[in-house]
Point group: C2
Chain length 143, copies 2
DNA sequence: CTTACAACTGAAATTGAATATCAAAAGCAT
DNA sequence: ATGCTTTTGATATTCAATTTCAGTTGTAAG
């Protein structure tokens, strides 16, 4: 699966005439090794610890490339930190965000996805992607 | 409906021991007179034109209060501008966001809402609110 | 009505994420 | 190796949003 993603990025790079660089390889490796929903800062620090040379801007730029390449997705929560999650082909999940402890639970619901398609069709709308976040309290924080 | 919202805010203010000020009244009036999805900047300018004295910070602060009071809701799109939409009690709508022309189409779907409740229940999660945005191309931009 | 005090405001400063700039470095086709 | 172009990273910049703080205003009590 990791190899598959690397291939995805190589293909994307080739199709866009982008070059293969040490930095992008490292950032991709580390991104793929992180949990879901890494904030840019978090990823940057992780990268920095093993590769002090890599700059802030490069991490931002590269994450945008990953997004374009279809292997990451930007998610905006309400804390002013942009996060990136891993895109798994043919799979989409949404989020339960706990406002108590900031934990994120993922879920998938095919019926919801289908209904979204229907709504879009009704408006002549062509879906590129979507996101859904449900805010509230997780089981732990309810007590 | 406008009166109802003003009452909501008065009740909220009273319960929180907040004071009633000229600025808050004005900002509420103008907020209620705007279309859905006003960006803070847009609202600020509108306010400024009839009430030059009112400051940036006050608009931000007051919109946060409206959100707490339950009559506005923050929405984050991907353009770095926080927007506020009007909350209508007992009604929830979601958004089709056109990446071509930035227009926003609202929709409601009760079945989706129900499914969300089910998902949440399955995880022992207590829903406070949620948002769903579907990105893509509107009927116009598809041509 | 006055007083007293806490809440509120607004100008300005500050923060912090994200982007732009640009000279130096590194890929890559020839 | 050469020459051209992309990429990088330090730095500066941008811009939304928040904080600060002295002055103002609402309001409850006297």
């Amino acid at each position: 699966m990791i190899l598959e993603k690397k291939k995805m990025f190589n293909d994307f790079s080739a199709s866009k005439g982008l070059r293969s660089t040490r930095q992008r390889d490292i950032i991709l490796d580390i991104f793929l090794s992180t949990h879901q929903h890494v904030s840019v800062e978090e990823l940057y620090l992780k990268i920095k610890s093993s590769n002090p040379g890599i700059g802030h801007a490069t991490v931002y730029r590269t994450l945008k490339l990953f997004t374009e390449a279809g292997l990451a997705r930007e998610i905006l929560l309400h804390d002013g930190q942009t996060r990136y999650e891993h895109v798994v082909k043919g799979e989409h999940h949404d989020h339960l965000v706990c406002t108590g402890c900031n934990s994120i639970i993922e879920f998938e619901d095919e019926t919801i996805e289908k209904l979204q398609e229907e709504v879009a069709a009704r408006h002549g709308f062509l879906i590129k992607n979507h996101k859904m976040e449900i805010y509230g309290l997780c089981a732990n924080c309810r007590r």
